[in-house]
Amino acid sequence: MTMSVTNSDVIVGVGLRHPHFTDILTTTKQIDFVEVHSENFFGQGGAALSVLTQVREMYPVSLHSTSMGLGSTQNVPMQYLASLKTLMEKIAPFMMSEHACFTWGQKQGQLIHSGDLLPIAHNKKTLTKMSEQVDKVQNYLGRQLIIENVSAYVKFDESYLSEADFLAQLCQRTGAKILLDINNIAVNSMNFESGDIQQSVADYINELPVASVAQIHLAGCSEPLTGEMTIDDHARPVSDDVWLGYQQALTRFGAVPTLIEWDSDLPQWSVLVDEAKKARDIAHAVLTRKSA
């Protein structure tokens, strides 16, 4: 499965979740690729893996992992990596991504998985350790990784680099690329900064080298209650602020593959397809204007 784009075109995909398996296999092709969560297909067989294999015949697939925990002080367990490699060999994804977070730790001497994307301290120590892990994983898989910025609900006092600077240095050290999640910047802006999302996105993307971003994620989240933090629940359409941030990102980074993410309160497949079409239209307008 190959993809070709012109300078004013962006390939746009959708995060594929279980309730939409039938839709994607039975409807006309209206998106360019799909992204799935790797861990959902770690089983040795069964219906889900069979569906993914069929989807792979129709669409390029991006494997998005959520449990690798590249920023953990613990090493990524080999059992996890072996499962990921087996899946990679079956599916031949066109991209493989993970998050700049930690997930592994110890409790009473036993390895545990946090079950969530926990934030990391953005400093040289974490950068060194995470670079080692990214190198190790890329060598083991024989593939480049794309690393995503995360939304967070706590911050480490030990951070003294911005996340953007951290990711830029990580990519320079390891050859990995960045998966820029505009909604995560928006969530962090509302939870920890001024809430001026346009400014937060501008500050963030201006710290990233132009060639460093390999994919963009777009998502929406529920409105927080007054005085509460915004939770990145991927339960709503992409917000106006995130669409504006997307335009800023396209202006800086050009035609970057883009994905619509929706994980909770899933709408009908056609709603996701419409969101993908909107992304494509916006990208076409921005990139046409840019090249004029």
Binding site: T103, H113, Y153
Partner: protein
């Protein structure tokens, strides 16, 4: 300490080495430890920690309710939430895949008050877990060429290798009926299974041999007769075909030919092999 040992903010790098590791440990500890004192002393944003705590419990509850659908149908939501909370503490996930988490849940249930009050819950959980594993298990079909051994080989030298998704176990509860009462696609069948389950639970000295198998992608659950159970247990324990048939020599009801036909139809057998 010379200036090379300091970072941009003037902090000592070796101190940060330890503290960075420690910070992750502290964050994990405070998320997993619900004592308010831990929250007060951790230095993290209270609202943020509570979001991670709620996410953890919600993710765990979602994972277990998918892996143990019968058990979660049987439990009230407040009880199930409490059980998930306790189980997270005694058996935290360690594989990075929620789907694979829960193998010890049946045993854990047996140690709880609700497990004591409703002793069939733990066995329901065993059944749910086998079905869950079969759903994601290796795709296997019969290597039909090996069937020829049945006509050519000596039964003393023949062994049956079952598909990995086939599981057989004994229980003192009407598990098949309880399972069908919650999962059969037909409502009338569900009601009928529920009545049968209630009736059987009121009786004493039930013994059921339950089998999980996967003809294609959807695992199935059935009850085996006593003779089928004896035969399957014998084969699964590595006994030869002759030894397994011998275990049924006083049972006139059992027909190997009939069993073989159904076994092939149900995709139980991977291959026949000679010692």
């Amino acid at each position: 300490m010379n200036e090379l040992g300091k970072n941009e903010t003037g902090r000592n790098e070796s101190t940060i080495n330890e503290s960075a590791k420690n910070e992750q440990h502290v964050l994990l500890e405070v998320i997993w430890n619900d004592e308010s004192i831990a929250l007060e002393q951790c230095g993290f944003n209270t609202q943020g920690i509570n979001i991670y705590r709620k996410n953890l419990l919600a993710n765990a509850q979602r994972a277990l309710s998918i892996s143990f659908p019968t058990v979660f149908e049987l439990l009230d939501s407040d009880i199930s939430e409490s059980l998930v909370y306790q189980f997270l503490r005694v058996s935290p996930p360690n594989l990075g895949d929620w789907t694979q988490w829960g193998e010890k849940f049946p045993h854990f249930l047996g140690t709880t008050e609700v497990g004591t009050d409703y002793p069939y819950l733990a066995d329901c959980a065993v059944l749910d877990w086998h079905v869950h594993c079969a759903l994601h298990g290796r795709d296997q079909t019969l290597i039909s060429s090996t069937l020829q051994l049945l006509s050519e080989g000596q039964p003393e030298q023949l062994f049956i290798a079952f598909n990995h998704n086939v599981k057989v176990f004994k229980t003192a509860y009407p598990l098949t009926e309880i399972f069908q009462a919650h999962h059969h696609s037909d409502e009338l069948q569900r009601k009928s299974a529920m009545s049968a389950a209630k009736k059987a639970l009121s009786e004493k000295n039930i013994e059921q041999v339950v089998m999980i198998f996967r003809p294609e992608f959807q695992p199935q659950v059935t009850t085996l007769s006593a003779s089928e159970g004896t035969f399957m247990f014998s084969l699964l324990s590595g006994q030869s075909l002759a030894q397994s048939l011998d275990a049924l020599k006083y049972n006139n009801e059992f027909s190997f030919e009939q069993w073989l036909f159904i076994a092939i139809e149900r995709n139980l057998i991977n291959l026949i092999k000679e010692k």
